[in-house]
Amino acid sequence: MPKVKIPRKSTTVDMTAMCDVAFLLLTFFMLTTQFKSDDPVVVDLPKSIAVIKLPDTDIMTVTMTKEGRVLYGIDGKFNRERLIQKISEKYNIQFTEEEVRNFSLTSSFGVPISQLKNFLSLNPADRQAEVNNPGIPIDSANNELGVWVMQGRLSNPKFRIAIRGDGKVPYPVVKKVINTLQDKNVNKFNLITNLEAKPIETVVQKKQ
């Protein structure tokens, strides 16, 4: 019997199309990704079942570390530039162009305004260091967080305020921050949390 010969087909596939798709997707994701801002502090967020997403833009963040230091950050390069101009007018501090640029690149900081000029002259790595971020004063006598929040809102009224706190922050600090916000007539704000699964138990009880 003669053997039936099956003609062999080449198993190589044209990869050009696949390559195109891969890079199209890559470009899409690269353009849409927003990287985590490099904050100078590590914050262990408490968990909650809340699923509301934080808006991407127009956000002011008040960070509280577990030692009770308070840091302030504002979103967007132009907003930061406008903010430092306002602060410079209010406190009569002249900032050089270099310092303004440095400020516009700082995502979050924790220095009293009196030390701000000094802080901005540091190099970027030092600006992240804990020693250089002693926290923004929130005492009732010298409440600079209030000033920042106020000026931030003046520079762009659309701003929402998000509080990012470590689980171990003592309550007096939390209370001071909330009171500061309320003094500036900010009664609606977001608390940033980590996602946690919703317990099933309550759903069952609702059905009964």
């Binding site: 190589t12 596939v13 044209d14 990869m15 050009t16 696949m18 390559c19 891969a22 890079f23 997707l25 890559l26 994701f29 690269m30 849409t32 990704t33 927003q34 990287f35 985590k36 967020l45 408490p46 968990k47 909650s48 079942i49 809340a50 699923v51 509301i52 997403k53 934080l54 998000a162 990012r164 706190g165 470590d166 689980g167 171990k168 922050v169 003592p170 309550y171 007096p172 600090v173 939390v174 209370k175 909330i178 916000l181 309320q182 003094d183 007539n185 009664n187 609606k188 704000f189 977001n190 608390l191 940033i192 949390t193 980590n194 996602l195 946690e196 919703k198 317990p199 309550t202 009880q205």
Partner: protein
Amino acid sequence: MAELDTSQSGGKHKGKGKKRAKKASTRVDLTPMVDLGFLLVTFFMLTTTFSKPQTMEINMPVKDKSAPTEQQGQDIKESKAFTLILAGDNKVYYYSGMVQHADPKKCDYSPEGLRKALLIKSHDVPDVFVSIKATNDANYRNVIDALDEMLITNISHYALVDITPEDIALIKKL
């Protein structure tokens, strides 16, 4: 055919017997490039999905600076009032009604503790108003946990309220 064919074959230079250097194949194997592409796609996909933070929206009562503090927040019916006192060491005390004739009970943040108490209360009184009062010993996690329990138990009326000296005295007795 897993290659990009860029060699220019065909009869462009037909005819003349010119000597041509032997052309090396210009086909490039694209497989590693595709691999790299998908690796990066995966990376960006994962980072985008997970970096968006979740938030809890909170509305604080508007502070009326003209009214004395004692008169604020007093217009809740006694039958609907439910107070949580967040103490240190992850302890919670709760009582119904007014502080004067309160019978505070102690519990913790576990599902069996605070959640059960809230579910029982909201079952009895559907439009219960929960006042969350944190002592200075409490921490931020306790506050978030308490607010979270409100979401879990579907209690829609709650507020973060400053603690009063009466409340502190009450839990000191325990």
